[in-house]
């Protein structure tokens, strides 16, 4: 593999050799052309990963369904219809109805909104927080000791238990779900960021920046942050996925998003008591959860190839 990599690295350099010297005006054009070329390589690398493409399609589909929920489905996910309780799948109700006659299809679609929102927010928040914590921990010994011991402490408690405890203290609310899940996932993110930052800190280019007289802040945010971000972004997609599962688990246990709101976990929770009479109530939200999580995980692998121009495919 190594020789292939070496070839590729220098291919564009030689392209640069081939072009003759340019003057002022040609510059912007050149810049655009190079950016295009570099992007093309990345896209090719991404699309050659079949799993990643599949993941992207799945995630986009779920996202689209969630956004277009009011257009696709005319039922109100909260509207009770006691006459049509526990109806199996039909044209009117493609996923059937639940114990209170609510349309499961509508609930799954609107549930996707909540689940995706929770997952995405948790992913982004823990990514940002983890990076900040990790970066500071890697550059300051005292901060390192304090922050990492807190992280170790948090990691020592099983995350679902911790989330349940936090929810019990904070109260069932979608904001609190996000907060609890973020607290749970920041430690591993911070560990990852710190580990990566410790490697980057020892790189010669960081030393070179110190030689130029660059300040600590500049080195940290302008040179270390961009170089640790790729594994963080990949990790964010995984946290995104696991937050969806955790949210479903919390809601399933009744410690998540409060009851009438349709999150996937809530639907599962409500369906579990009638699982023998109406399997569709748990089956569809379960399938959606599994599919979305699978899609996100596959996508995460693909993103790694996409954002890191130097990685070997």
């Amino acid at each position: 593999m190594s020789i292939l990599h070496a070839n590729e690295m220098t291919v564009s350099a030689a392209n640069a050799n081939a072009t003759e010297t340019l003057t002022g005006a040609g510059f912007e054009e050149l810049k655009a052309r190079l950016a295009k070329e570099q992007r093309a390589i990345r896209i090719r690398r991404f699309t050659s990963n079949k799993g990643a493409v599949f993941g992207l399609v799945v995630v986009l589909m779920v996202l689209l369904l969630a956004i277009l929920a009011p257009v696709i489905c005319h039922y109100d996910p909260l509207a009770l219809d006691t006459v049509n309780r526990l109806k199996p799948m039909s044209l009117a109700h493609p996923f059937g109805t639940d114990t209170m006659g609510r349309d499961v299809f509508a609930r799954v679609l609107y549930g996707a909104r909540i689940s995706l929102f929770v997952g995405f927010t948790v992913g982004i928040l823990s990514g940002v927080l983890g990076m900040v914590v990790g970066l500071y921990a890697s550059t300051n010994k005292l901060a390192d000791n304090i922050l990492m011991r807190i992280c170790d402490g948090l990691k020592a408690i099983p995350s679902t238990l911790l989330a349940i405890t936090l929810m019990a203290v904070l109260g069932a609310d979608i904001r609190n779900v996000i907060m609890a899940l973020t607290i749970v996932s920041v430690p591993s993110m911070a560990r990852l960021a710190r580990g990566r930052a410790l490697v980057i800190r020892e790189q010669t280019y960081i030393e070179a920046m110190r030689c130029l007289g660059a300040s600590k802040l500049r080195i940290m945010w302008k040179h270390m942050a961009p170089n640790i971000i790729s594994p963080i972004i990949v990790q964010v997609t995984f946290v995104f996925a696991s937050a969806i599962i955790s949210e479903a688990a919390l809601s399933f246990l009744g410690a998540g998003v409060p009851a009438p709101a349709p999150s996937w976990g809530n639907i599962l929770n409500e369906g579990k008591s009638v699982i023998y009479q109406a399997w569709w109530i748990v089956c569809f939200p379960g399938a959606f959860t599994a599919l979305t999580v699978l899609g996100l995980n596959l996508l995460g692998d693909g993103i790694r190839d996409f954002i890191d121009p130097t990685s070997e495919g």
Binding site: I3, L4, A6, N7, E8, V11, A14, N17
Partner: protein, 364 residues
């Protein structure tokens, strides 16, 4: 104090231990050896028109294009060239070390003791690797497995290829360690690679490689990571082993000094092709190809006068997907003509031992 001990051990072990000589004979009488019986006596390895190509993101690229050479018994052949010229790909192709299922395509022939290695199955190839052709790499630390003791790794090589008992393997391993000049081999046998210095690790690598008395040793930049004083020791060891075991050695290096001191014949490679071939005195005294000349002139020498400017070859080695038409060196060659840019020159022999791939040999 250890220094003195090391000296003594080297001196003692230089006399070929009896047990090793026996095993050497034992090896020769094995049935596998008979298969190669038809080969001419002195040529061990003959490479004919070898091409190695890779399927990459940018299409199919030929890293080696029509390389032919041979290695004789007891000969030290140097292969020199800059990075990207295909030296290492050549050696790895001989060993068939690339994953053949997807990325690589070989054509041509690699005849080892008369047998074309490309006709062998992967299983048969495993018998050739390590047993008949051994390799020493540049980076001894990553070539040795960090979780096993040094002794274990030599024993492993012996036990894979020779049907011998543990005790016997251990005895021979300790002998091997002594033979490559490692002081106190009984103790070193139980040490892990990280406990040894760079020079010692390279000696262990050589011991692993030579454990089965291969007919051919491929040394791929064996001293590049080492200091000059250690380099001198390791090169002396390789030369000595070459004489003792009467095996062929292919020394791949970018260091012309090392080649001048140790090799008898030299191949100069550029961009996947051999551009010049000859005895070491031919190549160093009267290089014919402009690339060889340029290479010789750009090496700083100890006898240079101060203030002199180093000769430099303009430009860089082109990439495999941008191989120029005609002579591959033409774009960087100060003597290139229209003809050079149009068609590929063939080898022209300038003496019975030297040949070069250049149109303008007579004129320059």
């Amino acid at each position: 104090m250890e220094a003195v001990a090391e000296r003594n051990i080297i001196d003692k072990k230089l006399i070929f231990p009896d047990s090793l000589r026996e095993s050497e004979e034992g090896f020769k009488s094995t049935s596998a050896e008979d298969a190669y019986a038809t080969a001419p006596q002195d040529v061990i390895l003959e490479v004919k028109d070898l091409c190695t190509g890779f399927h990459t993101e940018r299409g199919f690229l030929k890293a080696i294009d029509g390389v032919s050479f041979s290695v004789k018994k007891g000969e030290m052949l140097g292969i020199v060239g800059e990075s990207g010229c295909g030296k290492s790909v050549t050696s790895q192709s001989i060993m068939r070390l690339y994953d053949e299922r997807k990325l690589v395509r070989y054509t041509g022939e690699v005849r080892f003791l008369g047998q074309n290695l490309f006709d062998l199955s992967e299983r048969e190839m495993q018998h050739v690797r390590g047993e008949k052709i051994a390799m020493v790499f540049q980076d001894a630390l990553s070539s040795l497995n960090p979780v096993f003791t040094v002794g274990h790794q030599i024993m492993e090589s012996l036990r894979i290829h020779r049907n011998i008992s543990r005790e016997e393997a251990k005895k021979r391993s300790v002998e091997m360690l002594g033979l490559v000049g490692i002081p106190d081999p009984e103790r070193r046998f139980y040490q892990y690679p990280f406990e040894l210095s760079g020079g010692m690790r390279q000696r262990v690598m050589i011991a692993v490689a030579l454990a089965c008395h291969p007919r051919l040793l491929i040394a791929d930049e064996p001293t590049t990571a080492l200091d000059v004083t250690i380099q001198a020791q390791i090169m002396d060891l390789i030369v000595e082993m070459n004489r003792k075991f009467d095996m062929g050695v292919m020394l791949i290096t970018h260091d012309l000094g090392v080649v001048a001191e140790t090799c008898s014949r030299v191949i100069v490679m550029y961009l996947g092709q051999i551009v010049e071939e000859g005895l070491v005195t031919d190549i160093f005294d009267h290089p014919q190809h402009p690339y060889t000349k340029g290479l010789m002139a750009s090496v700083p020498r100890l006898d240079s006068r101060s203030g002199e400017r180093l000769h430099q070859i303009k430009g860089t080695v082109p990439l495999l997907n941008q191989i120029p038409e005609g002579c591959r060196f033409a774009p960087r060659c100060p003597y290139a003509t229209e003809a050079c840019r149009r068609s590929m020159p063939d080898f022209i022999s300038t003496s019975s031992t030297q040949r070069a791939r250049c149109f303008r040999i007579g004129e320059l």
